[in-house]
Subunit: 200 residues, 2 copies
Amino acid sequence: MPVSPITLFFDFSSPYSYLASRVIEDLAARHDRGIEWVPMLLGPVFASTGSRPLVEQPLKGPYALIDIQRSARYLGVPYRHPSPFPIATHQAARVTVALLQQRPELALPWIHAAFDAYFTQGSNLGDMAQLHALGTGLGLDAGQIDAWCGDARIKAALKANVDRALAAGVCGAPFFVVDGEPFWGVDRLPQLERWLEARF
Amino acid sequence: MPVSPITLFFDFSSPYSYLASRVIEDLAARHDRGIEWVPMLLGPVFASTGSRPLVEQPLKGPYALIDIQRSARYLGVPYRHPSPFPIATHQAARVTVALLQQRPELALPWIHAAFDAYFTQGSNLGDMAQLHALGTGLGLDAGQIDAWCGDARIKAALKANVDRALAAGVCGAPFFVVDGEPFWGVDRLPQLERWLEARF
């Protein structure tokens, strides 16, 4: 019986999602698991939990800035805190949804390129010109990017991802589900790995 | 030059604080550090961050119940989720403050006894009879417990702990500070340990 993939709900504006994107593939490979990448938007999740971006919260905001950068060092992942932060990521997410459907071989390169652009170079993914540049790097022309971002079916597919996330109990990002077991946060990867090994 | 202790801000109603209380001593001993135990109250912290108890939050609440119990298994710590939860812990914290001041040799046994009573046996620490029973186990009589809980100086010392926590940026519990570096959550102990080893 084929094993199910690790489902990963993520938002391009989430630093901890970026960190997870840099380490989850090695982890999955160690356990012969695939990864189902599910782009979604944290805005509706925060609306449901009554939360808001970490960095906008008293006490938690200043701590988060320390924690994100230390977590990157801990994981050995390059990180430069971007400005502006956070940003609107629905357009980058729509392109991801379209690629997963129509050009799946480009989806993962796009995900890594987009995360790296924002969290190591500070490229604002809310800016269409930046998305065009990322697309060019993968052989996609700007017209195709624009068409996907305006496509009602793609928009609906992204909204369906958000609805699926909320139905799955996603309360932040990154959020992983493995064989029904939920794990929230890049800091839960050690538990996720032990769970894959031992169902502890 | 003597090294400074690991400062640990905690609330008896916090499951992750309980988990930390069960593993922090071994970690500190590995690095020849002492521990400064600082009882405080999460209520004023939540008021400052605009948050509230995890289990009362949509999406996060159901997830937290899974995560707390899985984290206990991951750390090898016994855990039985208590009811009612959360509870008022100011009286238990006042006794802790008093012991740290006046009977320091009993403070750590009290802290462990109180955490274990709530998180393995479900004893409501908001109930004075339960505090009396815990005190009896340590040779303290009920009248002494009651006197401490009603002592204006003890109340003021606990409030000072809360003020100190807020000033230190404490945004939840457990919260650790080591040589000025802040760590929030029992899940940050691997980073805390690496920091002690390598100031990474």
